[in-house]
Symmetry: C2
Subunit: 309 residues, 2 copies
């Protein structure tokens, strides 16, 4: 009997580190969700340690390890294997991540932007199966994205595509840590939603508010929390309308932690989409919820090795 094969898949998010082993059927095992110990490159050491643990488990089980897939937020040069800039890890500048991993492991490394891996995961085992053209938006600490056209990820010139978070929706709007102003991310991400509430004095910055808590408040009937998601929804609709006008792609998949508040933001989003796209387009737009949650990025790593396109 031939040996079972697995991929070690890692999703390095803005807040959490997720990893596990993915098999050819899309089963995730040895799943771990850790909070990032640092915002510097020391997190790579934490990562190597966690990977070693999964590796040992797989070896005990007699699995063949095909490779490691690693999703990183930010500007990732796929050809060079270098992370140039990562908004959530401000100390990361030109980190030669492929070289680092090649010194530690003998498996092939597939490096990609984190949102791109989530798109691959949803296309392989999630809500976007059989969908040839779609846009994916991850609404988390920041906003990530991917464009899939005819079943392929649009990578752009160096793999830098899908930075939807830095599409400008207010030419001189809210300052963004990236140096620009009015970035989409500052209106629809967790960071953006909380920033707006803080600025308006609605929450105390010491209060350790989170979007999860805000969502709970909205569920309990809190009007201010409800309004915060309504506002976010309107801006989300504006951004989605622009993306549809630009790409002509009419299926939009929304994932990330903030998307759990779906019921509170989706109606205002739809209203702006209808207002800002041609009527022929608007009637064809499908908004879908990503369904793979924490496993999406990991499955995307699996898809790279296992999926026949």
């Amino acid at each position: 009997m031939s040996q079972n094969q697995s991929v070690i898949s890692v999703d390095l998010g803005g807040t959490n580190l997720r990893l596990g082993a993915v098999d050819s059927q899309g089963q995730v095992r040895h799943f771990q969700k850790l909070s990032s110990k640092s915002r510097g490159t020391e997190i790579l050491e934490q990562l190597v340690e966690a990977i070693r643990e999964v590796e040992e488990n797989l070896k005990k089980e007699g699995e063949e390890i095909l490779g490691i897939a690693l999703g990183v937020p930010g500007i990732v040069d796929l050809k060079e294997g270098v992370v140039y800039q990562s908004p959530h890890f401000p100390d990361w500048k030109q980190v030669p991540i492929r070289r680092y991993f090649e010194g530690k492991f003998s498996y092939p490394l597939f490096l990609d932007n984190d949102a791109h891996l989530i798109a691959r995961g949803e296309a392989w085992k999630g809500v976007a199966q059989e969908i040839r053209n779609f846009i994916l938006l991850t609404l988390g600490t920041g906003v990530g994205g991917a464009i899939v056209w005819e079943g392929r990820l649009l990578s752009g010139d160096s793999g830098f595509a899908g930075e939807f978070g830095h599409m400008v929706i207010e030419s001189e709007g809210v300052s963004c840590p990236c140096g620009s102003r009015g970035c989409f991310e500052m209106y629809v991400s967790a960071t953006g939603i909380l920033h707006h509430l803080e600025k308006g004095g609605r929450i105390d910055s010491n209060e350790k508010m989170t979007v999860e808590k805000l969502h709970e408040s909205a569920l309990n009937g809190d009007i201010a929390a409800h309004a915060a998601f309504q506002r976010m929804g309107s801006f989300l609709g504006i951004g989605i309308a622009s993306l549809v006008n630009i790409t002509g792609i009419q299926t939009v998949v929304l994932g990330g932690g903030v998307s759990r508040a779906w019921d509170f933001f989706i109606e205002p989003a739809k209203k702006e989409i209808v207002r800002r796209t041609y009527s022929e387009t608007a009637s064809r737009i499908l908004l879908k919820r990503a369904i793979l949650g924490d496993e999406a990025g990991l499955l995307g790593g699996g898809a790279v090795f296992f999926q026949k396109s």
Copy 2:
């Protein structure tokens, strides 16, 4: 000796109607530039008459006519051959243009969005030869666009891609005839530039001002004209930065009548691009001027029939 082959190519712009015959070498003959007699569907009759003239000329010369290529501004469903909406022809609603042409001519009709044909033209015989990935922006009466990735035009789900003019850059900015607000087009197209000057009382709406005249004034040292292009350039840079962040494509080709004022808008555009893209990206962005002018769309029609990709 085998017969020479030609394509009859038509570019229906917001203001002008251009047509001619294109041969396999990319030579344009029997070129005509007419002003549109109407904004209704009657323009189609004018079009048929003009095509018949080119057809007769080609027949006299013994040319074989391979087909007709027609570029139309607006929302064109390539599969159905229907123009759904065209911002510059407000009476056009669901015009079954393919059926109309098939009743008049026996040649195959290739229908596309006008900016898409311009991109095909620049890729075949213009500034984008050998460039596998580029974004094209036409700055004319409105703003059109195209995304070319790995040598292929991104068409989206129904051919509606590239409506860059309706990317929102100010969530509640200037009203756009499309029904939205803050559309990119209202800041960087001829319409947008003149609208802003009128609103500011700098030009009289009866004055029949044009961007050509404004450009001349700028060349003659007129400070207000200069400022108008500076303002337009800043907004152009904002839109380009968003497009680069979204697509990861780093070569941007600018065409259309307004692009003749290049020297007056390009520096403020670059400044905004640098401010609003990651430094790794910004340093790689190339801004290029389209070089085919009035013939670009016609050559794009030729490319469809003659270009081996």
